[in-house]
Symmetry: C2
Subunit: 360 residues, 2 copies
């Protein structure tokens, strides 16, 4: 994998990742972008004890551009995109409309009731392919294998930013769930705090450890591996299952059989197999319904602070589609009370996900 970093016209960083030798990617960004000066802040909700990001400048971000104006396609003579080169394999760059950045000038306040701080951190976009109409599930195994290494490398890079406490790689796919840019891409957030979801998992794990002497993630993985009723895929190094208390119509959690904190800790053999298994799972989501299901793919990594060994790196992949023409919406119970009401029994979802395995 060859890396070529450049700077965009407004000073943002961009890195090309090439599978082979290919282009030297020395095309300059000739656009007149003005200053990159996003300003966001984080505010602590005192009732829920959670951070909320307030990023007013994002209200005007790009919204469903026409395909010929796609900012994630390579540039051409007549149309300059976010990527100056005329082709690329995988490219990563700082989001032009970031929720978090190292630029924010908001003051930190220490009101006993209302804490707030600048929205320091980093938001990157990762383009998985230069092909506008492709999808992650259509990528070659070697490309996916490379993307796993890119996620690893970006996690390492973001971990070096002093304010960043947690790195989150994810992909939102499908206009049904609000994706405003169809070009195959994901995002990488470097949060300046440990997210609420991760804190909850760590608290549960600590409680389980003190009650049973065991690691909670290990117990879940062992239970699912033994009692295969919710298993979707069980390979040499990975297990994918529908969780016992799934929130979404179709939801899959994917764990390595060996507990590791993050991408970096995976061996080459585990990575090779992950490329195969992840493509397999996405193919199942494509085949669940007459058209591919929209999804969110969330790679959970240990935060950078505290004892990282208790947390288990894993993927949570889910779709809000509950039928060919029905979506699950988060209504009063979910949005206001955090109580999900599922329409599909997890064991039946697993059965269905096993049925739509690769037909070849």
């Amino acid at each position: 994998m060859r890396k070529t970093p450049i700077l965009l016209a407004d000073g943002r960083e961009l890195v090309y990742y090439n599978e082979g030798d290919g282009s030297d990617h020395q095309e300059p960004d000739t656009r007149d972008l003005g200053q990159f000066g996003p300003s966001s802040q984080i505010r602590r909700d005192p009732l829920l004890d959670q951070w909320v990001i307030v990023a007013g400048h994002r209200q005007d971000r790009t919204h469903m551009p026409a395909a010929e104006d796609c900012p994630l396609c390579p540039s051409t003579e007549s149309r300059k995109s976010e990527i100056p080169s005329s082709d690329y394999d995988v490219v990563v760059f700082e989001n032009r409309f970031p929720s978090l950045s190292q630029k924010s000038a908001y003051p930190k306040t220490d009101n006993p009731l209302y804490a707030s701080a600048p929205g320091w951190g980093r938001c990157e976009v990762i383009c998985f392919t230069s092909s506008h109409s492709a999808s992650f599930s259509s990528l070659s195994r070697s490309r996916v294998r490379m993307i796993i290494d890119v996620w690893t490398e970006r996690t390492e890079q973001m971990s070096r930013i002093p304010d960043v406490q947690q790195v989150f790689c994810f992909e939102n796919r499908g206009s049904e769930i609000g994706v405003t840019e169809p070009h195959p891409h994901g995002q990488i957030y470097g949060y300046p705090f440990v997210t609420s979801r991760t804190s909850s998992m760590l608290a549960s794990a600590a409680e389980f450890q003190s009650r049973t002497g065991k690691n909670l993630f290990d117990a879940v993985v062992a239970n699912e591996a033994e009692n295969s009723i919710r298993t979707v895929v069980h390979s040499d190094h990975w297990i994918a299952f529908v969780p016992f208390a799934a929130r979404w119509p179709y939801e899959i959690h994917l764990y390595p059989l060996r507990r590791v904190p993050d991408f970096q800790a995976l061996t080459d053999i585990e990575r090779d197999e992950l490329a195969v298994v992840y493509l397999d799972l996405l193919g199942r989501f494509d085949r669940l319904f007459p058209k591919p299901a929209p999804y969110i793919a969330a790679w959970h990594q240990a935060p950078l602070t505290g004892d990282r060994s208790d947390f288990a790196f894993h993927l949570e992949l889910f779709t809000s589609r509950r039928g060919p023409d029905k979506l699950k919406y988060l209504a009063g119970s979910e949005s206001a009370m955090d109580v999900f009401v599922g329409d599909i029994i997890p064991e039946e979802a697993a059965l269905r996900l096993r049925e739509v395995g690769n037909p070849t």
Copy 2:
């Protein structure tokens, strides 16, 4: 307010609430509905330590019926709906496709890793008017005043069910957020557990109390009343404001100025004024955009267990609409990490909500 209870053909309870004398509502339900035997369960997510409701029978619930088939309109000679009478003011009945009921026969399990239990509890539908094309914001003040009394009475009734630990009155309004039935109606859930959201608030309040000796809700209300930058409406007995760390593009929290645990504790004067203020707030949501904003209106009441006096009854009203043709979707950061990214600065949302006050 006159109450007339009847039983529907499958044994479910229905109660008519009349403003004046009106009909005696003795029309029988002549439909052939078969047995009412919903079966749901609750499962504990071990990683997040939250209950999830699994209700497989809901997958086939009514989905966007044609207006002439509306199950919430009064019955006619030729078309029998859920409401046998030919007219009504306000009516409440057990949901035919409930997430929770007193019928479930699932066994309780006490696996140390995976707890589950029958989905005992109750789900009611409340129809605010017999007029199919009305909206809550178009109701008369006297009707709203009566609905406040109905919410109070239903909360009292549900509180008597031994399994119910928390009563939640809410309304989901607008097809954009997944409402499958446009007739003006709300829902009332009796949960067999304290919801995760309420537990979080109580934990924050306990922590604040031990740190400052003060009640957290009181501190928030006092702060907003004093520093009016986020205030939307401040009347004799109520204050409505955009919260400091709002999650949604437009979000309003409405508190009585006197801390009470639930609907029942409100005085007549507070109820009278609540009818006025709530209609005022809904009118603002109607006027924010060229067409009325979809919304979720969530009435937070103290759970039935524990010390109820620390909790402050309040409304959380929010819309996911962030522009005339844009919705906020919950993508990776929100759905997978519980970190909301807001596009609209709370103080600017409050300014806008003050601007769209009643023009008369």
